[in-house]
């Protein structure tokens, strides 16, 4: 009896549902970018805490880098050990640690020996990299290293 009216109503509701559904892909892209920012902030906060300045102007991170490049221990393993003490890996957030030095002639980063820990494997394409400078003073020559943390979530 009311076929035309029912059809009109159905059409109206279907068009609105289609509009809502079409806005979903944009939303999921936005959410993945928001997740990337969250990961970036986690990694930045983690490195900032490790690099908190001590009274002698060094930091825990400074000693790890110094020990790796001038000593005999693996600073990347130590940094990963600190990461595992957080609850981030329980939440599915994993990382790769690298201690790098810049090759001044090629302008590319090189890994220092014992300066890599990839316990969780190679990072996926959507991983987020954060870096922190650590300057080790060797006599009068300051040597700048980069501690790079690549974080991702599964």
């Amino acid at each position: 009896m009311h076929t035309i009216e029912a059809l009109m109503t159905a059409l109206l509701i279907i068009s609105v549902v289609t509009f809502a559904a079409r806005s979903v892909p944009t939303t999921s892209t936005q959410l993945s970018e928001t997740m990337a920012v969250q990961l970036k902030l986690y990694a930045e906060d983690f490195l900032n805490i490790l690099d908190m300045e001590r009274e002698d102007h060094t930091s825990w991170l400074y000693h790890q880098v110094n020990g790796t490049v001038n000593g005999s221990f693996n600073g990347a393993d130590e940094i990963m050990g600190q990461w595992l003490k957080t609850n981030l890996s329980n939440k599915g957030v994993f990382c790769k640690v690298e201690i790098l030095r810049l090759n001044a002639t090629t302008l590319t980063f090189e890994r220092v020996p014992n300066g890599t820990n990839d316990t969780f494997g190679e990072p996926p394409a959507n991983a987020v990299s954060v870096w922190k400078l650590v300057t080790v003073l060797d006599g009068v020559v300051p040597e700048v290293y980069e501690v790079r943390l690549t974080a991702w979530q599964i």
């Binding site: 009311h2 109206l12 509009f19 970018e33 969250q38 810049l102 302008l107 300057t135 003073l137």
Partner: protein, 142 residues
């Protein structure tokens, strides 16, 4: 009889209008809910975009590290060669920042035993930051 049948037609038409009206109200309600949801998500997205686009972390890192190295050179290094050590650091750090897509120029000159003047320039396609270029900026070395 004619009146009666006319009344029945009117009542049927009114019922049809109610169906269309309820559909319209439902559709509008859904539209408003979706718009509100999108707006809330969009606000979070814009905030996160600001975090990604403005290199505040890199800026802060450059300033903090430069000041820390200056203090390290004073306490652990050869304070007589302060300007040379800082020039070496500035060269290294500008190359590292260049590898990350920034143009960086840092200079730090000893003023006296307890302070130095600092000058920092950092720029990329979005930011052009200067510190101590137009007005002198001193930092304590203790």
């Amino acid at each position: 009889m004619a009146n009666l049948s006319g009344g029945a037609r009117n009542s049927t038409a009114r019922k049809g209008q109610w169906i269309v009206l309820s559909g319209l109200i439902l559709a509008l309600g859904l539209l408003v809910v979706v718009l509100l949801l999108n707006q809330a998500l969009s606000a979070g997205y814009r905030v996160s975009q600001a975090e990604m686009q403005f290199p505040s972390y890199e800026l802060n890192e450059l300033y903090e590290e430069t000041v820390r190295v200056a203090k390290l050179v004073r306490t652990k290094g050869d304070f007589g060669a302060f300007n040379d050590s800082m020039a070496e650091y500035a060269e290294n750090v500008s190359k590292i920042y260049a590898a990350h897509g920034f143009v960086v120029n840092v200079s730090m000159v000893k003023k006296d035993e307890k302070s130095a003047s600092i000058c920092i320039l950092l720029s990329n396609e979005k930011v052009n930051f200067t510190l101590g270029v137009y007005a002198e900026r001193s930092i304590p070395l203790e």
